[in-house]
Symmetry: C2
């Protein structure tokens, strides 16, 4: 079965199967990706990140509903951290999104963070490409904002929303260190709780210190109560406003390009490695060098340099 073609024709099952093949590194998945690639590049990619307990899944659920009301097809990639300390309610939260399961205009895909370093961000990127090519207008990537991997995944997004909640106390201060820089929109969810205005104020103060000269966009801080669907219209308006800003400034094209070139670069690196290791002489040399490494007769840099002497670029 030609999953790529079926996915392009609108089959959700074929799309899911193609994403699975890509996750597994199956050559059939790669052939499929080649086929769908020219059709991608239209979707609006939104990243949503924040700490466990901030209510991200409910928020995503409401955002889906709002975009659907505006006639947009929505794909969701939800990252399920295999890491322990990020809260245990994640799989349960996922279930809440299932009310969109019968809506053909919504595609929800969970991905686990298990596996090799970099594997998740590649898998997420490829899944986003598939959803994009399938014609989902909006692709939401939801992550728990706790590690470098998550920051990388949010990198795929055109617009990144950072969710916080009242009562985070000093943790808000710690936001300075990293996520403040990646947020295009800040959301204080559960805004009916005590202290929500404090969080908004804290965020605004910290954002004032940020330098926006590169993007000319000052991130808004929005209050939502996702459980009551409050503030969602304004949030979706803000997403679209940021999107318009990115388009009109040309930043969007640059971001998409950078992301795709990075993916290309990683592929080149891997394929070159495979080439060395599958060439008869290369494999032999590689084995010799690893033996020398094991005995500490050489070091990794010198060994890699030796290998490079036998690699020729011929064009």
């Amino acid at each position: 079965m030609d999953y790529a073609q079926e996915a392009l024709n609108g089959s959700v099952l074929a799309g899911a199967r193609l994403i699975r093949l890509l996750e597994e590194g199956d050559p059939a998945g790669i052939e499929g990706l080649k086929k769908i690639y020219p059709h991608a590049g239209q979707a609006f990619m939104i990243g949503i990140t924040g700490p466990p307990g901030a209510g991200k899944s409910t928020l995503v659920d409401r955002i889906i509903t709002e975009f659907r009301g505006r006639g947009k097809k929505v794909g969701v990639i939800a990252i399920d951290p295999s890491s322990p300390f990020s809260g245990g309610a994640i799989l349960g939260d996922r279930v809440r999104m299932q009310r969109h399961a019968t809506d053909e205009g919504v595609f929800v895909r969970s991905m686990a963070t298990r596996g090799h370093l970099g594997g998740l961000s590649r898998a997420t990127f490829q899944a986003a490409l598939v959803l994009d090519a399938m014609g989902y207008d909006i692709v939401l990537v939801e992550t728990v904002g706790v590690g470098q991997d998550e920051v990388e995944i949010v990198d795929l997004a055109h617009t990144t929303a950072v969710v916080s909640l009242p009562g985070m106390g000093d943790d808000i201060q710690a936001m300075k260190a990293g996520i403040l820089e990646i947020g295009d929109i800040f959301i204080v969810n559960k805004a009916d709780r005590v202290g929500s205005d404090d969080v908004v104020r804290q965020l605004q103060v910290m954002l004032e210190m940020r330098d926006y000269s590169a993007t000319n966009w000052t991130p808004p801080v929005l209050k939502t109560i996702a459980s009551k669907s409050e503030g969602i219209i304004e949030l979706v308006d803000a997403f679209l406003e940021h999107r318009d800003h990115l388009v009109s400034t040309g930043i969007l094209d640059t971001r998409v390009e950078e992301r795709e070139l990075h993916f290309f670069k990683e592929l080149v690196k891997e394929m070159a490695y495979e080439k060395i290791n599958t060439a008869a002489g290369g494999a032999k040399k590689y084995a010799m060098l690893t033996e020398a490494l094991k005995k500490r007769e050489t070091d990794p840099y010198s060994a890699a340099e030796t290998l490079m002497e036998h690699l020729k670029v011929d064009m």
Copy 2:
């Protein structure tokens, strides 16, 4: 100045400088690493991970003291997450370790998690090699256990201790998903708090379900009160017991080898990429392909395959 030689001679400043050069990707750092590499391979690498607030830094402080009392030199690599939601007390905690600052047998280095994917685990690996070559008997790597990156870093360790604390509630259940598998030793810190026995029991029950046939090691669950230096002797004994186990079963050699070969492989990939991109024809072809990619006239896989046709392995 020959930082590598100075570091090997025992200069802490030169060692710190070498680590910095490596972090920055400076060629002088790489030359230094080549020089120190043959001297590495002796240190006992211990990874300590756990959620924010588990008291890891105080625990590390007490472990340092105990190892120092046993005549061991101790290097510490503390990962400071730039990500926000992992707790704000981290930099403050670091200060507590400063009481070892005047002890020449202790080397503490903080590393930030900023930068490219994989960059942190490489920087940590290289810093650990430097400390190892400098003659630190023990290298402690402390991370906040929240992301895939942290799991990768703990991968560098021979022995991994996972810290939890009473009152984690359901979060303990979430540990199932990931960290249970990487822990060689489990620590319930702040064990004078209500509920510590519950956490110990929960951990034990979950550990019983794990399959230990591959390593033949059943992880102990130890109670500590780091702030009162209680349970530290037993913990350090457990570290050494696990180390002995790894040595006697040959697992240690395998782990060290795997880690170093992985590092080698990553270097080969990067250098091959550089080679393509610095060869006259290669750079031109690369530029052509990226142009075609931007116009979506090709896809990243096909473009990389095209490039590979011009790469020859000649040995």
